[in-house]
């Protein structure tokens, strides 16, 4: 019900076509209801040697007109229903997308990528076909049923009432069957998802399976779920396939009863014909309605899934026009506390003062909180207490747009959009001129790489076109174009060869000129020249100082350094 209300608000712009479609649908059912009556009347005209041809012609013409009108209306209804359902789906998709852009990263991190995509596609589709088209079809069917009932009862109350009273029988039977099938359908759905998770795990790790000779066991595991899928498929499909013959049998009985009654009650031949057509035409919408109702139920479930995302509150932005001054590059963390999981504290009383232009390196093992510092500075996550400021302004008091254009970021997992190289480099400033982009790529040492691509800067690339190292160079060029006063650089950990890495180092140095920078380093050789090195441990600063100081101290940094460079 709540869903329906929300959906109605969505549909408000389609109210007119929707109502039009319903009216047209009802009109067409009106025509459909009249037709058997006319056919019956026409048949009654036919008498051996005494047929009224003028009237027969008139009925013939009336039939043609009614057929044409009803089918034309049907066409219009199909068309309008399809159109508004597609447009509603478009709205839903766009809103979902906008929502994804509006909610905080912390909330986004909880969502599963595949799940969101399936809500965006499959569920939105279900809503479109089920709710928009389904409801119209439902109303058309109901119109035909009610109209037929009225005409039949008016024609002959006894036959009419008998047919009307018998018809629900087929509904009862199909409901019983549907209930029986439901259990097996659920079992089938479970078996199928089990099958999917088993095989997706196997397929993703097929190489490990081969290398360890695990095939036999894997196949046995698969067979267990495959058997379940087979059994449940058999029962669910058998039961649901019974609906059709059962309701057909009942319909046929009704057909016989209508005919018999007609004959015994001495109804005219035409009258019986009308009834026979009615009784067969009348059961059709019932079967349609059953399937439409399933669609609508499916749509309702999907709608809940779609709205679950749409209801996530968006991250509130600062509604002022305050902007950071582009010359401010000093950053201060004061008594900052933060944890992802409120049960386990991570960053406790973190303090750090960074002067404009200072080069800060951050080292530490996995889980020491290096990435967390970036998450907090960029406000991907909000701190629990304390404050972070840039140039004396608390980052919470400035709009996201200003904060994020004040900081450039190069992450270790280089993100490449499926777009041209040019668009990827001019990412933060799409209006950047060709010269700016070219210069940035030269400074980022990726101009040669780009020149080698088939269409140079206009080559469309994605995450699979370039090597890891090359992608990071493109990302560095991207940061060059943005030219923000503060930098966050996260080195790629592995799988980049030393020579490309030298390029990346040089590009980093070029990028860092005259800027405040935070470098998360995995190779200690790259940070020897940093003004200060932060050694993080469990979210806290274990050591701080420049390379020489820390080496002299013979503490954690000294150990790390020796470990990495002691070759012999």
């Amino acid at each position: 019900m709540k869903n329906l209300k929300m959906l109605l608000s969505y549909m408000s712009e389609f109210k007119r076509p929707y109502i039009t479609a319903i009216i047209l649908a009802l009109l067409s059912s009106f025509c459909i209801v009249l037709i058997p009556l006319i056919i019956g009347m026409a048949i009654d005209l036919m008498v051996f040697g005494n047929t009224n041809f003028t009237l027969l012609l008139i009925y013939f013409a009336t039939l043609l007109v009614l057929y044409s009108i009803s089918e034309f209306l049907n066409y219009l209804v199909n068309k309008i229903a399809g159109e508004i359902s597609q447009k509603t789906m478009h709205r839903l998709r766009s809103d979902l997308f906008q929502k994804i852009q509006g909610i905080s990263i912390s909330q986004l991190d909880i969502l599963q990528v595949g799940d969101v995509i399936s809500r965006m596609t499959v569920d939105v589709d279900n809503v479109g076909t089920g709710l928009m088209q389904g409801t119209i079809q439902l109303l058309r069917g109901v119109g035909v049923i009610i109209g037929t009932m009225i005409v039949m009862i008016a024609l002959n109350p006894i036959i009419g009432l008998t047919v009307v009273l018998l018809t629900p029988l087929s509904l009862v039977v199909s409901t019983i069957i549907a209930k029986g099938a439901k259990k097996h359908y659920q079992a089938n759905a479970t078996a199928r998802s089990e099958l999917t998770s088993v095989s997706s795990e196997h397929i993703a790790n097929q190489r490990a399976i081969i290398a360890n000779g695990y095939q036999e066991i894997a196949m046995d595991q698969f067979e267990v779920t495959n058997q379940k899928a087979k059994t449940s498929y058999f029962y669910s499909h058998f039961y649901s396939a019974l609906t059709n013959p059962s309701s057909r049998m009942i319909n046929n009985f009704i057909y016989i009863v209508a005919g018999a009654l007609g004959v015994f009650l001495k109804v005219s031949v035409g009258g019986i014909s009308s009834f026979l057509i009615y009784s067969s035409q009348y059961t059709k919408p019932f079967t349609e309605i059953t399937s439409v109702i399933t669609d609508i139920q499916k749509a309702d479930v999907s709608l809940t899934r779609v709205f679950a995302i749409l209801e996530i509150p968006e991250e509130p932005d600062v509604l002022s026009l305050v902007q950071f001054d582009k010359t401010h590059g000093n950053v201060a963390f004061k008594n900052v506390y933060f944890s992802y999981d409120k049960k386990r504290s991570l960053i406790k009383n973190f303090n750090l003062d960074v002067k404009s232009g200072e080069k800060i390196a951050i080292v530490g093992s996995t889980g020491s909180g290096k990435t967390t510092i970036i998450n907090l500075l960029m406000r991907f996550y909000n701190i629990d207490c304390g404050d972070i400021s840039i140039g004396d302004m608390n980052i919470n008091t400035v709009p996201f747009q200003s904060l994020r254009s004040h900081i450039s970021m190069v992450l270790q997992d280089s993100f490449i959009k499926n777009a041209t190289v040019y668009e990827n480099i001019a990412f933060g400033n799409p209006s950047a001129s060709y010269d700016i982009v070219k210069n940035a790529s030269i400074k980022a040492q990726c101009y040669d790489i780009i020149s080698r691509l088939s269409d140079g800067f206009d080559t469309v690339i994605d995450g699979n076109t370039l090597s890891k190292g090359e992608m990071q160079l493109i990302c560095i060029a991207r940061a060059m174009v943005e030219n923000a006063p503060i930098l966050i650089l996260d080195e790629a950990t592995s799988n980049i060869d030393s020579l490309t890495e030298i390029k990346i180092q040089n590009a980093f140095l070029e990028l860092m000129k005259d800027k405040t920078s935070f470098v998360i380093a995995h190779r200690l050789s790259t940070i020897k020249d940093s003004d200060r090195i932060l050694v993080l441990e469990n979210g806290n600063i274990a050591e701080i100082g420049n390379h020489k100081e820390l080496i002299k101290k013979k503490g954690k940094y000294f150990d790390l350094y020796n470990n990495q460079y002691n070759v012999n």
């Binding site: 095989s199 695990y214 498929y233 007609g262 980049i496």
Partner: protein, 572 residues
Amino acid sequence: MKKLLRFISPYKFITALGITAKLIEGLLELTLPLIMADIINNALTESSTYITNRLLLMAGIVTVCFALAFICQRSAAYVGANFGHDVRCALNKNIHSMSFSNLNKFKNGKLLNSLTNDITHTQTSVSIFIRLVTRTPFITVGSLIMAFTISKEISLIIFAVLPITAYILYKIMRKSIALHKVTLKSLDSITKSTHENLVGARVFRAYNKAPSEIVEFESKSSDYANKAIKAIKVLALSSPLSALVVNIGVALVVLIGGQFVHTGNLLAGDITALTTYLIQILISLTILSNVGIVFTKAESSASRINEILETTSEILDSQNPITDTSEILPSIQFDNVSFRYNETSTNAINNVTFNIEPSSWIGIIGVTGSAKSTLINLIPRFYDVSSGSISIGGVNIKDISLKTLREYVGIVPQKSQLFNMSIQDNIKFGSSAVFEDIEKAARIADCEEFINKKHNKFNEMISADGKNLSGGQQQRLSIARTLARKPKILVLDDSLSALDNNTENTVATGLKENFSKTTTLIITQRISSIKYCDKILVMKNGELQDFGTHKELISRCDEYMNIYNSQKGGGK
């Protein structure tokens, strides 16, 4: 679809039973309007017993029809379920027998999709085929014949209507299937965009791209909507247009039928029967055209399934392969080995020859793309050499059974692959290792500490893709898995890289102590990892650049010097 028919053959009998039952049902059902016409025509003249008998006959027919339909639906579900199961089984078996190069050809999503959705599509089409497809042409033809027996002249109207309707339905279906395909492509780009924005969310935010991304997405989404609407408009014509043609036929039957009744050539009840048959034909044709969609889907699904089924591994056991390796020493000889990924590509490995002593520690170093991983993937025959030969302890690896060879050579891959099962099962992973072996392997791989911190220790479940473990922990578990198999040749394919230096040291020391007989190959990017090694292979562009100790290499190998300097000197 044709090629998949062999999977139905074990169920030939039941398939035939289902189809026959359905055909008889159709035949019997066709007689109903005829009997009804007879009743109507004779209502006034015949006795009520005559009519009651006819009515009872009809009721009998209806009941028999249901029984036949029951048999048919049951056979259809049975054959569909078994067909699906058998195809899935064959497909899965084939995937498991694929070689690495076979696997490289298919995207994971494609294999998965075939195992699930594609099979469902084909099995549905098998069921539908039994239930509907044989029946509908039969009903159509049958209705025609019945109409013909009533009145040859009026049947001509039906003869005219039939092809027109069929043509309309066919044309519209073809057009809308074509449009549907275009629409699907557009849907792809929506999926891509969403995926990209979710995966790269931080970068999009960092560059304030939300407004422009929203605009871009809106245009993609509306492009999709427009294409879908175009397809819908065509499809929306299908049922009204075909119904109109048939109904004009009905009106004509009524008009011309009047003529015949007037002249005494037909009875009024016959007209009723004729219109019923005509409507019957319309319903059959509509069903057929709807089924057309199911079959187009099934056809493309079937071709994807076949593509996978027809891919067979080129890496096979030799005749009478060696299965006992107890006498084979873990030395490795590469003799003029060249390898290319496929016939047309250039050599990934070019004329490589070297000899590794048993129980030695060998480092393999080189820049990305120098074919380090390719080189070691040849040893357990993940790929077969294109020319030259590889031997272990003087025995050509092709003479050893694949299973034995892969037990003998343990590779820890770059990317750890963990399964959604307990830690213990992840380490054991099909090997004969008992719990003590597993514990020991975990200890050497430095997993003990974090395993003991887990609530259920070795029985702790690992979530899919090892998400509840850090990268380093995953890597260590992956090392433990290989160690539990006690390989005679151990290859660490850059698998120490996710570990910090201290952990790396611990693992290396543990290996030296406990696997002293094992020949160990370490692929690495880090010069610092080389310190454990007796000798080092330097690779460049698929060629062996040099093979020697650190001291030798530093004095004579330029490539090695380059790498060394780039790391040692910090870019200076």
